[in-house]
Symmetry: C2
Subunit: 128 residues, 2 copies
Amino acid sequence: MAKTKRSWKWAKEKNQKYAGIHLLAEFWGGKIIENSKEIERILIGATKKAKNIPLKMVIHKFNPQGITGVVLLAESHIALHSWPEFNYLAIDIFTCGGKAKPRRALNYLKKVFKPKKVEVKEIKRGII
Amino acid sequence: MAKTKRSWKWAKEKNQKYAGIHLLAEFWGGKIIENSKEIERILIGATKKAKNIPLKMVIHKFNPQGITGVVLLAESHIALHSWPEFNYLAIDIFTCGGKAKPRRALNYLKKVFKPKKVEVKEIKRGII
């Protein structure tokens, strides 16, 4: 969980250069996972799928329900915030550089949580 | 830095109910701050301006430059990732519930970093 050097290359697409991709995803009606250790494993799993390097993680379990967690990456972060009472899970995956695969992390999270409805926004960050 | 109960109320606007607001901001040409303790104070300052409750924080300093940090909130998160070599700072502020003031956190961060150019996207999360 520790590596301090950041590999860096701007992402490129046609004539555009940008820092990275930020995916914002809304999961509705999926599996409810409230166990901190399991959420930790899921975040690490997503990190690996995105070909990212995890640095540090924080997870907080709410009382009586809901869980919130972020894994800091050498390439930014993956965050997850759940509201089991509404069967809603907010995910965001921000991966910088041209090598990261944020969609793969998202697909992995879909497989884990199996939401009935998904909405995704893809936003390019740091467009030059 | 610890409080486990989440106060919760959907945000409302006209006929729309949603979980919260996610601001994505690009700061270009601002002050370069690479000190972890200072970043910690800035994140807490932003949290207070947004009327949020900080839960946990992680900060990572890259070698040789750049800093990345996230504060987990009872209302989601504030994240900050810097690339001093490009004078670029990526900020995102995700605050759930109707009481949070994410724009105030953003204005505070503008005052601290004094960027020459700012771009902001505001995205509603969890629209019912």
